[in-house]
Symmetry: C2
Subunit: 408 residues, 2 copies
């Protein structure tokens, strides 16, 4: 008997028919003799509809109240799923984040899990029930509902798998697994059989949108075996685990993120402590910074540029503007006419030719590079927003990622 955590996204439970179909898959897993914990997202566009409802009333609603509002989406999903599973004759129970004991910090709308008290879950599992948990949500010390941010249901699933010592965490989605590139952009993209946590982490944080990056971090830290597979067929999906089986391919994939913005703090003094001031300010305001590039000083000043989530742009620019004197900068400059295109693959650092190939592919496609950032297992380039897809195609082609085995 294995203990399996299954997570289904919003499109998999968008209407009554899909809920029933997912219920059948869950019961099938249960009937094979497994204990099953199910984590669900809100149905279809529910979350967006709730956001619209809020914006109609207040364009800048309190984050605590947004969490109170948005968490209803998952609550609806789990109760409906419990009804569907009961109809199929299985014992089951729906549980909210709070009931599962998911304790988070108090950063509303993007809280982090601090602790999970799995007792109620274990109790219900031991009674032979399928346990259906609301993803995306937790509760802080005061008993107020928090949410984990977009894609937080993946995080919930992996966290529950970790705390329950589950044998497998299955992330069901509407695609067949992790691909070398988005198949909608690159028709020749190939599905990966497996991928390491680190590679997946880069792909996730780079906008592959298949898995929430925090869920992969968590899986890595607690050594949770994850598989990403389709809820529409019985394909094997892509296994995410400690060390991927050796496929002779360095570059795992190429991906892009269009939901970013670039901010530059202009003409700061070229002395120690300036970057600290800027990024401490941002950290205190809970703004996630991704790529950071600092220009080489001209005279005694330099520019510091960074990328952030697009929806934090206004907040970030306001914050910098308010603190221009404190930072000692002349002004702030920003754009959201940017996208980040990245390649990911372990061992890249030892193959200097990879970066050159990537830049060459972009040059040949007449795409200008605005910022570059590299790490052991990825290279990212900032390009113009409307050139992102073309960039992905050019890079995928250059590295021949569509062929099953590839060595550089």
């Amino acid at each position: 008997m294995a203990l399996i955590v299954q997570k289904y996204g919003g499109s998999s439970v968008a209407n009554a028919e899909r809920v029933m179909r997912v219920a059948e898959r869950i019961v099938e897993t249960y009937n094979k003799g497994n204990q099953v914990v199910v984590v669900l997202s809100a149905q279809g566009d529910t979350t967006d509809e709730l956001i619209d409802k809020a914006k109609e009333i207040n364009s800048n609603p309190s984050k605590r109240e947004m969490d109170m509002l948005l968490s209803t989406g998952e609550q609806i999903s789990i109760s409906l799923m419990a009804m569907a599973i009961a109809k199929l004759g299985c014992k089951c129970i729906s549980l909210l984040g709070q009931q599962v004991g998911i304790l988070t910090d108090s950063f509303h709308t993007h809280a982090r899990i601090e602790r999970i008290d799995g007792e109620r879950m274990r109790e219900e599992l031991n009674q032979g029930k399928i346990v259906i948990v609301a993803g995306f949500q937790g509760v802080n010390e005061k008993g107020d509902i928090t949410t984990l941010g977009r894609g937080g249901s993946d995080t919930t699933a992996v966290a529950l798998a970790a705390v329950l010592n589950a044998d497998l965490c299955e992330i069901y989605t509407d695609v067949d697994g992790i691909f070398t590139a988005d198949p909608r952009i690159v028709p020749g993209a190939r599905k990966l059989k497996d991928i390491s946590y680190d590679e997946m982490l880069e792909l996730a944080s780079l906008g592959a949108r298949v898995l929430h990056n925090r869920s992969v971090e968590l899986a890595k830290n607690y050594n949770v075996n994850m598989v990403v597979r389709s809820s529409l067929n019985n394909g094997n999906g892509t296994l995410v685990k400690e060390v991927a089986e050796v496929e002779k391919m360095l570059i795992k994939g190429v991906t892009y993120d269009k939901d970013i913005a670039r901010v530059s703090v202009m003409a700061v003094r070229d002395i120690p402590g300036v970057a600290f001031k800027i990024f401490k300010l941002l950290a205190d305001a809970d703004i996630n910074v991704d790529i950071i590039v600092q220009s080489i000083g001209r005279g005694d000043t330099k520019d510091i540029s960074f990328t952030i989530d697009r929806d934090q742009l206004t907040e970030t620019v306001d914050l910098i503007n308010k603190n221009l004197d404190y930072i000692g900068a002349s002004g702030v400059n920003f754009t959201h006419d940017v996208a980040k295109v990245s390649i990911v693959g372990a061992g890249m650092a030892n193959h200097p030719g990879v970066a050159a190939d990537m830049f060459g592919a972009l040059a040949d496609a007449d795409i200008n590079i605005h910022m570059i950032s590299t790490s052991d297992i990825k290279i990212s380039c900032l390009v113009r927003w409307d050139e992102a897809e073309k960039a992905v195609q050019a890079i995928h082609e250059r590295f021949g990622l569509g062929s099953p085995v590839q060595e550089i």
Copy 2:
């Protein structure tokens, strides 16, 4: 400084515009120097839509899961209201039943409040916040969400007023107050300035639909001053309190309830203990019985008839059928082609002519009476379903309830 509890129904918060309008009224009360606790129902048809969603998946869903589902409606209302009030510049916080500490029993879908721990509420009020509470919901000992049944938000409001020792509990609705009859049926119906708890209790349980009867019971037990008024204007509404001011009118109103059904247990033996068996069965199944009529025995058998809520009919008939041998009955007979028409007024018992007048009014209108039940302050008649409105009109007319002062 007074402490005021305000309850707004679903139609008062049905859309963004109405939410803003209600928010303005709340802030107005607050700005007069009052502490304000607001209790809200689900927006407009939300509850019905959620029920439809459930029925699409499972025609007989678990009650626990229904509570999990339906409680989201109020959660959405309170978060939106908090956003609206914040927009008007007031400090406020939304709280769920659980957060307010509303502990109930475990009768899902119609739980009863056992205890309220008002600490969090007091804390927030003392910080100068308007507290916005989800009506209709509580939590049982296990931490599972329960709901109080339709109209339960009234009960929440009165219970909070009781535990907080509030100066006033205002029930906002889409009518101007309590009328001598439903103005949609009887155009000449008159608004009452005040009414006693007992009279209101009869009117509420008889289907006046303006107030949930449990809320009135609770108000009576804890001596909570309630006022029923319109959220659409600034009328005074109707005050519900210990002893109504003496208006020289005995009959307070005439009302009807079409959501009932009549069940008859046929040919039970005319010996002691039979009625006990039947109503113990029903009580154990948590089925509320209203009017009970026992026929005079014919030979050694008699029939026992009673009315129940229409939506418990199937359950009731099944239960009786399963227990025919135990009860010792020949069969069960039922109909929902019935409605209950009632007049309410204190001191009725001392005016035998009142019953005769009521029956006379029905006879003149050619309406047959199927069952009769009387108490100190009400007389109810069962009539045919489609004759309910006509019956109300005839009785209202006969007693001259439309004139401001009336004595019998």
